[in-house]
Point group: C2
Chain length 227, copies 2
Amino acid sequence: MNIAIIGTGSVGQAIAGKLSSLGHAVKVGTRDIAATLAKTAPDAMGAPAYAMWAKGHPKVSLGTFAEAAKFGELVINAASGMGSIAALQSCGSANLAGKILIDISNPLDFSQGMPPFLSIVNTDSLGEQIQKAFPQVKVVKTLNVVSAPVMIDPSCVPGGQPSMFVSGNDATAKTAVSKFLKDWFGWADVMDRGDITTARGSEMVLALWVRTWGVVQTPIFGFKVVR
Amino acid sequence: MNIAIIGTGSVGQAIAGKLSSLGHAVKVGTRDIAATLAKTAPDAMGAPAYAMWAKGHPKVSLGTFAEAAKFGELVINAASGMGSIAALQSCGSANLAGKILIDISNPLDFSQGMPPFLSIVNTDSLGEQIQKAFPQVKVVKTLNVVSAPVMIDPSCVPGGQPSMFVSGNDATAKTAVSKFLKDWFGWADVMDRGDITTARGSEMVLALWVRTWGVVQTPIFGFKVVR
């Protein structure tokens, strides 16, 4: 499948690398190709500079947001929460229309230091804002509740797989994404939580996630719904 | 131990009944004793009217908020989130001073219908507001992330015990409460999350909890931190 990844950071790299290794044609989208390739330092999350990473992933191509979105039969938003709406606008509505958009972003605002707070919360969510801004797109919120290594390999958590949540208004899109999660990454406990308003809960759990990271001292964890 | 339970609803009843059965002297506090005893209908959460419940728990006494707080060596806040600060003010600061206060409340506002939203969120929490309002009290936020039956018997969850979180500024109080959780209710995975600001995360997870209830169709579930 031709897949677009919006965002060049640790999440974008992890997803792009995994999907490419599975034989998919992957194009990563960025705001400014030259600037992205000029970077040499790791990002704030410890992800290597894109050009360094790309050397080990020669089959993954890089393009503008619009080029990537046009290329993808499926589009995955791995941009920062604060930059997601702008990045998707740069993709161009016509390049997104009718497609499934897997939204991994979280509206985390780091401008006041650690821990981050949520710039959208409680009675709204970033998932909903994206769906409203792009009504012709089938937004499916998922994967945002774990770190990048866990997203692509949930069995790497020593204590067992977390649960994964799926939120969205389009039932067919959610069924397709749930199958992707199982087939591509091995997610065993995928829970359809309902419409896109249920993204509020899965985004708000980031407040719990961030401080849990501080306690367990590793990003290799997640939340399992035991029932 | 002499224990005060603030609140007569499903959480107060569950905790009071369990602690009484363990041999503790329990006094439940209410705003208006006569009004509480006059009720005959179950509450919105399905808890029986207090007088009906009390018939099966003759060792549990009922008093005003202040009488209960004065009686308790330990005080447990099981009032509604919206009513907690007022209930604790009615307890009287002098009756609470120096004691551990286990805070189970969640700032859920049902005034706009279902699902409820959080009246305090993101950059503050009800746990913090209670600690600020009663600086001489050792507030420990816990148990608020599961339903009443799970609070007192976490092993009732068929898929395994959830994790339980403890937040508070007083390390000794957290250690004592963590031991209570294990000894009284059988909690096996109690996680000290840090100071009372970490109550933000455990209160915000209610947004996830409420919608998960809708999916799993039972309140007998919880979130386990797999790591």
